[in-house]
Symmetry: C2
Subunit: 213 residues, 2 copies
DNA sequence: ACCTCACTAATCAAATTTGACTAGGCTGGA
DNA sequence: TCCAGCCTAGTCAAATTTGATTAGTGAGGT
């Protein structure tokens, strides 16, 4: 599974009620178009699909204030919230070497209680270590590592990345345990969405070094 | 673009002539099903598509030796070889945070001259460093990093991964310059394909810790 | 008054990917 | 002998993703 469903569900949830363009803007504000497949087509498709599956309800809205086609607003259902939490937990725990999924989950990690977040990340680290043991054994044949030739570099690369990922995760666990950020049930949450009408400080497109801020 | 075209083109090229099932087996032998979308459907689709585009030529073969439907063999064309090299170079140079593409390219890196491989990897490292400068500036706002809240962890994660990737690439450059592996034009290449009839020492599916080898 | 640009909001066809399924032949045990 | 299970080789529908395109509105320049 890709990150798009988690991203879209989470964005709608934070707004309570949102139309596609709003979701699209949030994700851009997050920089999600840089590291995931959060493009217009995918977002609108995900919204429709998840509405069909009962995770969202669609409300048709009149042609709207400022130009453009009539827009549809979406609200998350109870089933949708459940799905969101399932996806979020899964994304935090499993090491499937798709960095976009972890990234998406990081954006919503504060929607869980602090205790649980730490617990899930611990399990993530364990998962990485287990994966590492499995493949290390797997690709280190008894007739010497040379048998693999340069192909061995592929696994070497993965193992290296996994190690870096584990180390980073341990760091994050430390920061969270050290009291960083505001988690579910800890009052005033940090909301990473744009209010209606608020301008997006980040332009579309590449992270521009000459960003005129 | 995904890794599948590079993988399929490269696999066909190594065989000279191959049918889909052979490609599928090679990629499995490489472990590609673990870290890329090298599933049957994708492979057969890529073969057909690239035949349509003139990168491969298809030969219909009689119902074949051992069971199963009639198979189609593919040969790579000159245009296909060009495309292969283009994809390979691009995959080595560009840091697009999709690890499967780099992995695929690593599998074919020895199809280039040693000199060029090193040069491309150098450019890769530069690319990563440039990317890092751009996003570091981008996501470090003048009103303090706290404004980003936990969202900042996403970029933090990416930067960490990028650093790990750069470091690993430097290591690989060192190994290659140190004389490791056999590159294009250096005689007897290492061939990472299964001969017809050779058994695949790796079973399908997960890297099994209890692998009976 | 006219034209161009940018923004809002979304749609669409084409390409790709997923995951399940087909169908023939071979093998080994009851 | 018969049948369950595996291997070979691939197909197919459904879901998703890509990249381009549409269409209305308002602002600014000439």
């Amino acid at each position: 599974m890709s990150a798009i469903r988690l991203l879209v569900l989470g964005a709608v949830r934070q707004h309570g009620r949102a139309h596609g363009y709003q979701v699209r803007n949030d994700l851009e504000y997050w920089g999600a178009h840089e590291w995931s497949n959060a493009k217009p087509g995918s977002i609108y498709h995900a919204l429709k699909q998840m509405a069909k599956q009962g995770f969202l309800v669609a409300h048709e809205i009149a042609p709207s204030t400022a130009g453009g086609p009539p827009r549809t607003e979406y609200e998350i259902t109870d089933k949708g919230t459940e799905e969101f939490l399932t996806l979020l937990r899964e994304a935090l725990v499993t090491y499937d070497q798709k960095p976009d999924i972890l990234s998406a989950a990081l954006g919503f990690i504060v929607d869980l209680p602090r205790r649980e977040a730490v617990e899930l990340l611990r399990r993530r680290v364990e998962g990485i270590e287990e994966w590492r043991r499995a493949v290390t054994e797997y690709y280190t044949p008894e007739d010497g590592p040379e048998r693999l030739g340069h192909i061995g570099e592929i696994m070497n690369f993965w193992v290296h990345s996994a190690d870096a990922g584990a180390e980073w995760t341990r760091g994050l666990i430390g920061r969270i345990e050290g009291g960083a950020y505001t988690f579910a049930g800890e009052g005033e949450p940090f909301v990473g969405v744009l209010a209606e009408g608020q301008e997006n400080p980040y332009a579309t497109g590449e992270p521009d070094p000459g960003d005129p801020r």
